[in-house]
Subunit: 294 residues, 5 copies
Amino acid sequence: MKVTSTTKKIISYYTHENVGVRSNLMRMLGQGKLGGTGRMIILPVDQGFEHGPDRSFAVNPPAYDPNYHHQLAIDAGLSAYAAPLGLLQTSSDSFHGQIPTILKINSSNTLATSLDQAVTGSIDDALKLGCAAIGFTIYPGSDHNFSLMEEYRELSHEAKAKGLAVVLWAYARGTNISKKGETAMNIISYAAHMSALLGANIIKVKLPSDFLEEDPTKALKERVAHIKKVAFEGKRLVVFSGGDAKDDNALMEEIKAIHLGGGNGSIIGRNCFQRTREDSLTLLDQMIQIYKSK
Amino acid sequence: MKVTSTTKKIISYYTHENVGVRSNLMRMLGQGKLGGTGRMIILPVDQGFEHGPDRSFAVNPPAYDPNYHHQLAIDAGLSAYAAPLGLLQTSSDSFHGQIPTILKINSSNTLATSLDQAVTGSIDDALKLGCAAIGFTIYPGSDHNFSLMEEYRELSHEAKAKGLAVVLWAYARGTNISKKGETAMNIISYAAHMSALLGANIIKVKLPSDFLEEDPTKALKERVAHIKKVAFEGKRLVVFSGGDAKDDNALMEEIKAIHLGGGNGSIIGRNCFQRTREDSLTLLDQMIQIYKSK
Amino acid sequence: MKVTSTTKKIISYYTHENVGVRSNLMRMLGQGKLGGTGRMIILPVDQGFEHGPDRSFAVNPPAYDPNYHHQLAIDAGLSAYAAPLGLLQTSSDSFHGQIPTILKINSSNTLATSLDQAVTGSIDDALKLGCAAIGFTIYPGSDHNFSLMEEYRELSHEAKAKGLAVVLWAYARGTNISKKGETAMNIISYAAHMSALLGANIIKVKLPSDFLEEDPTKALKERVAHIKKVAFEGKRLVVFSGGDAKDDNALMEEIKAIHLGGGNGSIIGRNCFQRTREDSLTLLDQMIQIYKSK
Amino acid sequence: MKVTSTTKKIISYYTHENVGVRSNLMRMLGQGKLGGTGRMIILPVDQGFEHGPDRSFAVNPPAYDPNYHHQLAIDAGLSAYAAPLGLLQTSSDSFHGQIPTILKINSSNTLATSLDQAVTGSIDDALKLGCAAIGFTIYPGSDHNFSLMEEYRELSHEAKAKGLAVVLWAYARGTNISKKGETAMNIISYAAHMSALLGANIIKVKLPSDFLEEDPTKALKERVAHIKKVAFEGKRLVVFSGGDAKDDNALMEEIKAIHLGGGNGSIIGRNCFQRTREDSLTLLDQMIQIYKSK
Amino acid sequence: MKVTSTTKKIISYYTHENVGVRSNLMRMLGQGKLGGTGRMIILPVDQGFEHGPDRSFAVNPPAYDPNYHHQLAIDAGLSAYAAPLGLLQTSSDSFHGQIPTILKINSSNTLATSLDQAVTGSIDDALKLGCAAIGFTIYPGSDHNFSLMEEYRELSHEAKAKGLAVVLWAYARGTNISKKGETAMNIISYAAHMSALLGANIIKVKLPSDFLEEDPTKALKERVAHIKKVAFEGKRLVVFSGGDAKDDNALMEEIKAIHLGGGNGSIIGRNCFQRTREDSLTLLDQMIQIYKSK
C-alpha cells in the first residue's frame, strides 16, 4: 500500500470518521498502479443485476465467470472491485484480499415496475467477505427519493460503526427529469452535493453534460472541477462513471477531462468487460497513464 | 449418504457458506437413487396452496393425505421433499429424517388480488421440523419485486446463520411480461442470474422456451447449458420445474435436455401426484435412469 | 374432563405441537356434554364487534350483559366460549375456568372502508385471562390476503410457543368472489386447505353450498366429508358456522349433515343469543343430542 | 379523595386491571366536588391542536396560557384535566398533582388531508408528568379505522402495564357516514360498544341524537341509558362530550339527560374556555349540582 | 457564556426538561453578541440540500466551503450554527465547540415528487459532533402531516433523553393551502401552537403576513406578539425565518418588528451567505444592534 502526502491530505478531510473507515479509504487509495496518486479506478460489475447477464456478458463470454472480473481488477492494477453479494461470495475465497472489495448492497433490475432498489446484502455479509466498503444507490427524483435516503442512512451508519467506508451512487431520475436532464450540470451538481451532505465517503456520479448550461462552451474539465467544488470545496472523493460504451478515443478524452478537472477517477464497468481481456487491460492501462501524469 | 468427487466438487463452490449449510447441501446431493451424481429430483407439494386442493388432488384422491407425498418421495428414491408448513408438520413425525425436507416458507394463492406471496413459516419452524433447507419464491417483474427480494434477504440470512440451505424459486411475472415472455430465454436467464447474485444455494427456474430467441433452432439442451452458464459459470446448482402436466414422452425429452445441458435436475410436482402412485413411481424411475446415465 | 380413545386419536395428529397446545386442545375436546366425543360446540360472541350491538342483541336484551353469554355456554354444556378482549375481561373473573375460553384476537366492523381486521388483543392478554386458545380471522381473496396471513403467522407462532391452541376463521371474500361464491364448494375447500397448510389447530369455515358444483345432487353431508378430507385427510379439527339465523328445522338438518359428514362440530352465535335463554338452551341441547348419536 | 360504596362498586367492574390502573380510576372518581358520586367532569383542552389556537381561544384571551386551564379545572372542582403533551409539560410543575391529569396522546388538525391522528406523546411522557391516564382517539369509519385501533392496542397495553388508566375517544367518521349520521343512535351505540370490546376503561362518545331512530319520541335520557347498556350492561364508565358551544339552557338540559340516563358525566371543553373564567366557574358549578342531585 | 435574569427566566419555563436539555438551551442563549439578551440569531445552511448548491452558493463562491459558514457564524457573534450531517462532519473538527451547533436531522430537495423529508442523520451523530440541539421540519398540511409528526416525536424523545435541545421548523404546506396562505396569520399561528403542543424547545416559523387578516392595518410587530402568545403565552422560544432574499431596509424593518413584538430572534440563511463575507458581517451586526436595543 503506497502512502503519500497526497493521500494523507485526502484522509485528513475525514477526521469525523473512525480509524477503521479511514484505514479502508487509505487501502483503496494506496492500492494498485494508482496507489498514492489520489486517483482511483474501480471496476464495478453490477450490470448483470441492473441490465441482465446476456446484455452484459454475451459479447465477451468469459465474463460470465465471477472470477474473471476479480482477476481482471487485480491484473490491471485497479483500486477496488465492486459487485453484488453473489459475485463476491463466489470469487473472494480465490483472491484473499489482493484487492479491496466493495459490496454493492442494493440493486435494481430492468423487469421492475418502479424506480427503486432492493437491499440485497447486509453489513455483516460485507464484513464476512473482507470488504473495504459498501456501495449504495439513491435515485433523487424518484418516488422512492426519501425512503432510499433513509435506507442509506441506516446502512451507512451501521457500516461506518463497523469500520467500513461508504460509496454512494447518486443518480437523479424520475418523472420530472428528462433523459437529457439526468446528466445536466445542475442536476449532477445537486446529486453530488446531496451525497456529501448525506455523509458519503466516496461519491459516484455521471459525467455532467453541457445540456441546458448557460455557457455551453465551458469545457468538460471545468464541469468536473465544479462537481469537486460542490463536494465540499474538494474535500470529498468523487469518481465518475464511464457511461455507455463508446469508442476509445472519446473515452480517453473524458478521462483526461476528469484528470485535469481534479476528479478522483473512474468507476468503469461495461467498457472493461464488454471487450476481450487483452483489450481491457490495454484500455485500463491507458487510463492509468493519464491519471498518473502530472 | 453417497459422497463422490462430483458432489465434493459442487460443494467446493460454496466455501462462503458455513459447514452447516454445506452439510445440508451435501445431504440432498447424497440422498436417494441419484446420490452422488450431482443431479437431484425434488418433490414439491405446494400446489394445494398455489392452485387449491381440488385442482391439485381430485384426480388422485390418496394425494389429499400429507403422508402420501412424503412416503412417495422416499419410496421413489428422490433427493428431497418440499412443502409448506402444515404438510411437514403432519407427516414429518412419521418419517424422521428418511429424506431431507425443504420448508416452502412463502406461499401465494389464486384468490389473491396482487402478485405477491405471504410468509407462512419461520426459520425456527424449519429447524423444529428437522428440515435441510428453506424454499422462497420471488416474482421479478411484479409490483412486489423489491419487497420480495428484501424479505428473501432477511429470511435467507437467518436460515444460513442457523445452518439451513436456501432454495430460490425465481419466476419473472408482471404487467410488463407476457405469458409467453415468462419462459423466454432471456427472461429465464435473467431470473437465474439474479438468483445467483442474491446468494441462493439452489436456483429453481422454469425451462426456457425458444420464444423470441434469435436462433430458434438452438436445442433445449443448449438453452439449459446457457442457464447453467449464467449461474456463475456453472458454480450454482440449478433445477428446473416440470411445468404443466404433459404426456410422458414430452416430459422425458425435457429431462434428457436438462441432463445433456448439465442442469442439476428437476423439481416436479403435478406430474408426480396427479397420477396413481404406481404410475408415479414408474415415471420417477425413468427420470432417474436418465439422470444417472453417462 | 372426559378423555376417550376418540379424543386421544385426534390429539395424536398434533404431535408437532408442544404439550401445552395439545393439553388445551384436549381441554376443549373433554369439556361439557360433548366431552370425549370428538365433537365440539363453541359459542362465539363477536357479533357486537362485527355487526354492532343493537343488530346483535336488541332482540334479546339480556344479551347486552357479557356475563350472560359466558354463563350460557357453561349451562348449555358447550365446549368453549370465544369472544373479543373486552367481553372476556368483564366476565372471566366470575367463572374462573369453568369452560375453556378463546380470545378472538382480531376484529372487523361494518363501518370499515376496507376488507381487513384490526388486531385488538395480545397473546399476553389471552394468558392473563386464562384462555385455552386464540382465534384469528383471515380473508383470502381480499386485498389484505397476504398481510392477514402474515399477522396470523406471527401471532400463532407466539401463541403456540406459550402453549395456546390456535383457531383460524377462514372466510374467502373479495372483489373477485361473488356473495354466492363465498360458500361455493371449491372456495370453502380451498379456505379449509389453506388453513391446514398455515398450521391452524382448529379450522372454522362456513358450510359449503351446492353453488357451481358439478354434481348438485351431492348431499350436504358429502360436502362436509370432503372438507374434512382436504383438511389433511381428516387430521385437523374442522368446525362449521351456524350461518345466518334460520328456522330450527333447517338448522338441525345442517347439524345432522355436519355430524354424518364427520365434521367436528359447530361455532354458533346468532342462533344462540338472538332468542331467549330458555329457547337457546333447548336448541343447543338438540344439537348436542345429534352430535352425541352414533 | 372521597371513596364511597358507589365508586367501590364501579371499581369492582375492573378486576381484570392491575391495582395501579384501578387506583388511577379511583383517583379520578374521588376527585373534586363530584368525588364519590360516580360522576365525573373532565376538562379537555385539545382544541388548540384540533381546531387551532385562534378559533379556540381568541374569544377569551387568558385561555392562551396553559396554566389558565389547569387552574380552572382545580378551582372548579373537576375530576380530571386532559391535554396534549406541550400543555401538560408547561403547567404540571405549578400544580403538582392537585388534580389528576390525562395525557391526550394522539392528535389531529384541520390542515390534515386524511382522517387520521398522529401519536404525539409517549407512555413514558405520561409517567414523567405524573398523569393518571392517557387519552386516545379512534375514528371507526375512516380509512385508518384498523391502524388507529392497532396503535391504540399497543399504547393501551403499555399504559396499563405501567399502571395508567385508558380513556378512549370514539368518533365514527368517514366517507360512508353523513355528518348527521355521526351522532345517530346506532352509530354512537356501535362506537361505545367497540370501545368496551377494545378494553377501554373510560369511554368518551358524543351524545346520541334522534336521527334515523325508529322511535324519535324517545327521550335523550333514554338514549343515554342505552349507551350505558351497550357498554357492558353499565359496567364501563361512559362520559359524553359537550359538543358545539350552545346556549346554557340547552346545555343544562343535556346534562340533566346524561344524569337521569345514568351516564357517568361530561368531557366539556369549548363551553368552558370560550367564556370568561367567572362564567365558566358558574356554568361548571351548575353542572356539578345537577350531577350531585339524587 | 453570559447568564442574565432574562435568560434564567426563559429557562425557568422548561422545568419539564432534564438538566442536559436546559443547559444546551442556556448555551445558545448565552452565546455571542446577543448572549444574555434572550434573543438569538441562528445561521442555518440547509439551502444546499433544500434548493441545490448552485442556486444557493453560486453568487458567493466561498460559500461552497463548509468551513466558511461555521467561521462566519463565529465571527459574526451569532447564537448557533445549524446544518445537515455532511457540513457539520466537515467543519466541526476545526472549531471545537466555539459556537453551539444544531444538526438539521431531516431534509427535503426540489427533485422530490412528494412533500416530505428524509431523516438524514441520527441522534448519535449529533452527540458525536458535539451538537447542542437537533432541528426537524414538519409540514402540517401535507399528505405526510401525521407521519412527519410521529417521526419528530420519536427523534425528539431520544434527543431529549440524551440531553439535546430540539428546534422545530414548522411549515404549513399542502394541496389545500395556497402559496399566500402559507404565511397567513392564522396558519402561522396554528403552526406555532402545534409546535408548542408537540413539545418543541425552540419553534421556527415564517413571519406572518397580513393576508386574509380581518384587520390588515395591524402592524407586523403585533402579529409577531400574537405568535409569541400562541406559543404558550410567551413561554416558548420562537424564532423567525429571514424569508426570501430582499433589500436590506425591508429586512431591517422585519427585524425591528420581531424585536418590538417580543420574538426571540431570527434564523437567517440566504441573506447571509448570498452576499460577500464583509457584507454579511455588516448586515448581521445591524441585526444584532436592533436585537440588543431596549
